[in-house]
Amino acid sequence: MKRLSKPFMTILIVCLSVIVVIGGQMIFAKSKSLKAATHNARSKGNPSAPLKIVEYIDFQCPACAKGAKFLREYYQKFPDQIYLELKYFPLSAHRFGLQSAKYAECAAQQGKFWQMHDLLIDRQEQWRDLTNATAAFQIMAVEADLNIADLDRCLVDPKTEKIIQEARLDGEIAKVSSTPSYFVNGEMIVGSKSLEEYFAQHFQSKAN
């Protein structure tokens, strides 16, 4: 049998590897799109807006706060251009990731999600490094005009955590692993820097 040359073997291994990986990626992408689902998104804006954004957020993550402030600014400037759906994605590395999401979800159940969202984001620097942030969350709940008795019941209700974990699972199915992650008209964008670049391009091309 004729012995293969080393350069030929190199090309063979590289080509086979590339084919296997790209084939795997295609199969994986297909199965992912079949599984994707939507649970419990909190939304605002015009549902027929040209920019439909799904945002996965952890309220304790500094980049999420930056991204949320950026989105709020654009939303105020172009309210008809943006439809925003927000989903919880509390990271286990963040001590208050789940707790802050519970406060937001309980506020949502009293129809005050965005008030609580804005407070959590605007004051994140004040609570994210605390040893215990419960008092800070309670103050924000009062400022958001929540019914405290209902809030306290909601916080210990297992359904609240279930809603958050379902939203997180949606993110995992969509291959979200970091926060903030966005899907703008279905296109995945991770991090506030990439979102700012996308918006700059989008609104510049609209202006031209």
Binding site: M9, F28, S92, A93, V190, G191, K193, E197
Partner: protein, 151 residues
């Protein structure tokens, strides 16, 4: 004794090769935007280069890992790894010096929360082992494809 040493070199070659093949594959099956976010968080590359790094590094890790696992072009692959990991150490080092909040940015995802200093120590250790493998290339190549093609 000599056989035992050779076994150790083969063991480390296969282990590191497998590690990088697996890391590369896992990144290739993730959306590249996740890696782009991590690269952006180091704040030391221009936007164009961030895109290039996010798209090419997983392929480099995967192919170098596979070649090391197979013991193919072992010397060149080890040199490639030394450059790659040296680069990682520099990038992580500048993030540490500048005090970038990488471990709390969410960019490593929910499962991993590793401090920059620990990652630097890991990479320095890996760089050291790869240097030893390169300095003992003959033993490292044992039971690899190089032995078949170079004989």
């Amino acid at each position: 004794m000599r056989n035992r040493n050779a076994f150790l070199f083969i063991f480390w070659r296969v282990l590191i090769g497998f590690f990088f093949t697996a890391i590369g594959i896992s990144k290739l099956f993730e959306p590249y935007q996740n890696l782009l976010y991590l690269v952006q968080s180091y704040q030391c590359f221009p936007p164009f280069l961030e895109q290039v790094i996010a798209r090419t590094v997983p392929w480099i890790e995967f192919l170098l890992g596979l070649f090391l696992l197979l013991g193919f072009w072992t010397g060149q692959v080890l040199q490639g790894f030394l450059i790659l990991i040296g680069g990682f150490i520099l990038v992580l080092g500048q993030a540490l010096v500048r005090g970038l909040p990488l471990d709390e940015c969410g960019c490593f995802g929910g499962l991993i929360s590793v401090s920059i200093s620990r990652m630097i120590i890991f990479d320095i250790g890996l760089w050291g082992i790869l240097s030893i493998l390169l300095n003992n290339l003959k033993q490292t190549k044992c039971l690899g494809l190089d032995q078949h093609f170079d004989s």
